[in-house]
């Protein structure tokens, strides 16, 4: 289990124990965190699980594949530090990570 904090756009924090080997989208939906819609269930097809990752954590994440990169590139509210939560596998390296969600997914 890895501790992950999801922060809603209004600042509400949700600390969850995420199971290693699953992904951050699943961790959020399993723990009923609002703001991660994940319409496609993690197929990298819908871009409704966008999160913002602070700079200090960015390097610890797996690199973006082309599909994720381009999906993000065309999302409203996408920033340099945006990722799709369904594409990030939970590992020990993420212990304590804090990520936030855009207002558009409210």
């Amino acid at each position: 289990m890895t501790k992950v904090v999801f922060i809603e756009h209004d600042g509400t924090e949700h600390e969850v124990d995420a199971e290693n080997g699953t992904n951050l989208m699943e961790a959020a939906t399993k723990h009923l965190v609002p703001g991660i819609d994940a319409d496609c269930g993690g197929a990298c097809a819908c871009a409704t699980c966008m999160i913002y990752v602070p700079e200090e954590w960015a390097a610890k994440l797996p690199e973006k594949e082309d599909m994720e990169e381009t999906m993000l590139d065309f999302c409203d509210h996408s920033k340099e530090n945006s990722r799709l939560a369904c594409q990030i596998e939970v590992t020990d390296a993420l212990e304590g990570i804090r990520v936030s969600m855009p207002a558009s997914q409210h």
Binding site: T29, C40, G41, A43, C46, D66, M67, M71, F74
Partner: protein, 410 residues
């Protein structure tokens, strides 16, 4: 009478509706009744990662089991609603229960269309609609051998892809002259036929399946009307789905190719709503009534229905979108291409595995099939919603970035 929303069905729309009812502030009782033994789960992975054995049932649940407890949603599984009594405002179940509702939500979904051909009841003949079906198919996967897929649509081809990756000898029998003929341009059909052949799948088009033959109750071959036969240890039939409208018909609700609802998911009875695959609904963006078989539609209609039950108008107005994963191909579709008069290709469908087809009608962009082309898909989502016209020569010119197409949306 106290508030009680009864949800008939336990699929995507049911799960989303339960969540949305609480989000909209509904505090009364909610009961969800599903005939499968599972809480709502996601169906798309059934023909993809779940079939491949890459993920288990706990990773396809729509919401975790704790959700229903936390949100105080009573879930009755393995239970079928047998009758709606609109006068008494009750539903009867096959367990002999009678539940009184203040509002009823029908999310009865759809079922696989069956091929009632000779031998259809042999062991080894499968459809793919629910977890139980997948478990049956998987029991054959592990043995290797030969598989025949009847129907070259999304389900059939997705299963073919997974089976081929499992080292199974796969033959797809499609009645039409090409695969996916009902939904895409021949350019896309030919591309998928090429890729499947490259992956070792045999595709036979123009094949009219006439029956199944077996030995000791076990399927051994699939026969076609022209006299040919294809040996098979198991067969997966994917020839479309039918909306589950029987309850609504028997209750004398208006049904026309799906349970007829308005833009707020209201049926012809003011206390009964419907959402998802089972509905026939107006789409104001497209200016026509539709029955859709898609997750996106189920989720969005469920949100609309939940809002309407809470007395809020949140009309459903979405451009449909779909996806299909086969091998390393991610097909993303937005819009409905029916009635197009021009197909514009961006990229090369004859080489490699990445291109897009834009469907135009009188110059207006109405749909896109994007294969490993997220920019085309994402940009087109916005363009189609705005009903824009874009010259074909711009769309096919790869030196123009998709982002620049936004100029046409103003």
């Amino acid at each position: 009478m106290s508030d009680h929303v009864v949800i008939v069905g336990a699929g995507h729309a049911a799960g989303q509706a339960a969540a949305s009812l609480r989000q909209e502030g509904y505090e009364g009782a909610i009961t969800m009744i599903g005939n499968e033994p599972y809480i709502p789960y996601q169906r798309p992975p059934l023909s993809k990662k779940f079939l491949a054995g890459e993920i288990g049932i706990d990773r396809v649940y729509f919401k975790p089991p704790e959700f229903y407890e936390k949100e105080n949603v009573t879930v009755k599984l393995g239970t079928r609603v047998t009758e709606i009594d609109r006068n008494a405002k009750t539903v009867h179940t096959d367990k002999g229960e009678t539940l009184t509702y203040s509002k009823l939500l029908l999310t009865t979904g759809s079922r696989a269309r069956e091929l009632n051909l000779p031998g259809f009841d042999l062991e080894g003949v499968f459809y793919l609609r629910n977890v139980g079906d997948v478990e049956g198919i998987q029991s054959y996967f592990n043995k290797g051998g030969k598989c025949v897929i009847v129907g070259g649509g999304y389900i059939g081809l997705e299963v073919a892809a997974v089976a081929a990756k499992h080292g199974i000898d796969v033959t797809v029998l499609e009645m039409a002259p090409m695969v996916m003929a009902r939904v895409v341009d021949p350019i896309v059909s030919r591309f998928y036929e090429r890729v499947h052949r490259e992956e070792g799948v045999k595709i036979v088009t123009g094949a009219a399946v006439s029956g199944f033959e077996g030995k000791n109750g076990q399927l051994t071959k699939v026969t076609c009307a022209d006299g040919t036969a294809h040996e098979a240890d198991f067969v997966v039939v994917g020839v479309g789905i039918l909306p589950n409208v029987e309850l609504a018909v028997e209750a004398n609700l208006k049904v026309e190719n799906g349970i007829a609802v308005d833009e707020c998911c209201r049926t012809s009875d003011p206390d009964i709503y419907a959402a998802g695959d089972c509905t026939n609904h107006p789409n104001p963006l497209l200016g026509e009534r539709l029955r859709l078989e898609s997750v996106h539609n189920a989720l969005e209609q469920a949100k609309t229905a939940a809002a309407a039950i809470c007395g809020k108008e949140k009309p459903y107005a979405q451009i449909p979108w779909f996806w299909s994963d086969q091998y390393d191909l991610k097909l993303q579709i937005v819009g409905l291409s029916a009635g197009y008069d021009q197909a514009v290709v961006r990229g090369n469908p004859d080489e490699g595995r990445s291109f897009a087809v834009f469907y135009l009608k009188e110059g207006r962009l109405i749909a896109v099939d994007a294969i490993n082309r997220a920019p085309e898909f994402m940009m087109s989502k916005q363009l189609i919603a705005k009903g824009v016209s874009i010259p074909a020569e711009k769309l096919r010119d790869e030196s123009i970035n998709m982002k620049e197409m936004a100029a046409y949306a103003t």
